[in-house]
Symmetry: C3
Subunit: 312 residues, 3 copies
């Protein structure tokens, strides 16, 4: 597809992208799904996705691996940080450098802010941020926006609720940044202890209409076109009691659905624990599995665009 | 090959299959071995086997991975249950659902009976049972029967001895069910504490001639066309002393071979520990490594048939 | 390329090869880099590299995996020795035999001398020694020589310094054997406690000019065309204090470079810890990352030659 601005590009922060970029990527994602598996399997023949995971993330790793496999490429790297060369005292820079020598595109997951940007300065190959620090998970945000677009046929004009752990969830920040490129209303719903960190989004606070809540009131539910639910991550809490108190407070279930717009779309980055009742899985509103499926397709399109000037 | 009844089908229980199914699959297995590696490498181009292993099984996983790789496809999934999303509290259903979204066929290994059947209700893609509960390992049974057929050129009329741990070995139950579709005599040989669980095979007990033994007598050895040996699994025994007492009692060695039919075929699902002496590895009777090799071929044929209406 | 003497051959010891073998392999390595990724991706379509790692080695495993992937093949095997069938008491011979049944070429890493030679007697497929015992790492030595050749356009006539842990580093012994096929001067520089084991190289001690040193003097530095630095492996030392004393003594940095030939080439098998200062990474003298990159290319060429009489 012509006009590829992703070729050989680093995917570091959602802040580096424009609506035009998204539109191009979404069109490419639509188009790649029209190819046969055999046609797709030619795109990345002989090409390699190298990954380094300094945090466990089965979900992100498998989504990228399946995306790469579906276009005929292979994935290899380090995901078990304990048994790798990292143990032998190798520096982050050397690990990234070496993986980049073995591969054609590099995927990194790391707990520190700035780790991917730094990697992109070391690597000869384009770097994808597969989640870093407290704020960045750009490909997750892209697929979230894509999912909303597929469901609603638009982004502008929508009212989006984001619910759960807004303090520690890095996907939330990337999503808010992505949404800030459009004309949307955002309602943030969380317990007081898990409120969004305002200092992290100060630079877009006057670009997008954001409202804070601590409860999912009927009034609010009636407004929402999209409810984006995030996992309340047990591993973020030093105290299990604190976790248990909060867990379940914002569970999306049939009673919530009944009080919402009939066509509300429920998204979740997965894995879920108790944030969404399985009783709504088979409703038209439940979009989270479709969202995971789009993750494979969008990442396959993205990888194709990074690897080839003419993606396919 | 025409007449494919495996296309898009779940492989859950050996009880779901007929002699005709086996015959089709065996013919396909013969045929796939006549293709060049380059021809085979086109069959599953761009297609993915997704796996979830809730029990360790290097052998089954590698056999399927090599089968999938040999037809040009890729495998990905979760085999280290401790480091996966499972840890984060995700349900079995969600894990299966997600893996099915990332792949074209799903392989599951799970300690519980019924886990694969349940998975097949959740997954949009065909599910293969890679071993579940105490009884089911259907693809192992298929390759066992295929191996016997390749050695003996028939199944009907054979006398088969099954030896070792008949209580805990799930491959034994699947094999007995598969054999019950043919006209065979089955001799079960085990220590009293490891006897077959009769309640698990009651429904075929009048379809097949089965005889119980606690010793490998000369009389018995003279009758057997096939000796199927199973590993006495240390990890099944709470008491190591008990294990050591039993281990070695049924070892197949040169002395056993001397007292057996000259063309007896020795099978074993592998890995073996001391059940078969390495001194007979190079005899014509030792078929267990050929059996492992057939495992790759039969699974490659099976995957091709699941993935394509016209397998190749 | 005609004249392939690697087809179906075991790569066990660097001592099994001649200068002609190296020349053929180096030419093939040059040639494979001229192919497009799509052309390369056809070479090993449907073919499998099976590996068994009895020692952790992320570096060697990833280098081979990327090499195999770049020629369109796949890699599978056992690298986490704790979670594999090995735990179930399977013998080394059975594990090697089974991996060989699942694959087209077998890669083995093992702590014992002779382990790869033994494997090659068991396996039906060619075996590659990915590092064994205290002395052998033949493909590392091949890529070391290739790297020197690419930098210096010759091997004969060079003066090579090998620095660091010469007692425990297996790459050192393989490299010395490879260099002994050429007309070179070798200077060995190490602390007294980490001196080369003379009994391990006695058979070439009169074939090659070797000199022992404990210090990197200015006189010596002025002579060296190549400095090969090895990691001082912490895990080899029972006493951390001892390690710390020695670590850093032979660090290659700007001050060393200044006192060396202006075109000296610095090599290192990686991963490095503190043996080479990062401050020289961007100099023309730093060749270690190029060396890692050549590792992928040379192994891709080698695998192609093992798998096909006409490699590509």
């Amino acid at each position: 597809m012509a006009g590829n601005k992703f070729f050989n590009r680093n995917i570091i922060s959602i802040r580096d992208f424009t609506v035009d970029d998204f539109t191009y990527l979404f069109d490419l994602t639509d188009k790649i799904q029209t190819l046969s598996s055999s046609e797709r399997g030619e795109i990345a023949k002989g090409l390699i996705l190298g990954y380094v995971f300094y945090e466990y993330s089965t979900r992100t790793r498998l989504s990228f691996e399946s995306a790469m496999a579906s276009i005929g490429g292979r994935s290899l790297g380090i995901s078990d940080i304990d048994s790798s060369s990292i143990m032998k005292g190798e520096s982050y820079a050397d690990t990234v450098k070496t993986i980049s020598l073995y591969s054609d595109v590099v995927l990194i997951r790391h707990p520190s802010d700035g780790s991917s940007r730094y990697a992109s300065e070391i690597s000869d190959k384009p770097v994808i941020n597969g989640g870093s620090g407290s704020e960045e998970h750009p490909t997750q945000a892209m697929l979230d926006i894509y999912t909303i677009f597929k469901e609603k046929k638009k982004i502008n004009g929508l009212t989006v609720g984001i619910i759960g752990d807004l303090k520690y969830g890095r996907t939330v920040y990337s999503l808010i940044y992505a949404l800030s490129l459009y004309d949307v209303n955002i309602h943030l719903v969380s317990p007081a202890t898990l409120k969004i960190r305002n200092e992290s989004i100060y630079d877009i606070s006057n670009k997008v209409k954001m409202f804070n809540h601590t409860e999912l009131t009927d009034d609010l539910l009636k407004k929402l076109d999209v409810i984006y639910v995030t996992r309340i991550q047990k591993e973020r809490f030093p105290d299990l009691q604190e976790y248990k108190k909060i867990q379940g407070l914002y569970t999306i279930d049939e009673s919530i659905l009944k009080r919402s717009k009939s066509d509300v779309s429920i998204l979740h980055p997965l894995p879920r624990v108790d944030e969404i009742s399985t009783s709504i899985d088979n409703t038209m509103n439940a979009v989270y599995f479709k969202q995971a499926s789009y993750g494979k397709e969008l990442r396959a399109a993205l990888l194709s665009a990074l690897l080839h000037e003419e993606p396919f």
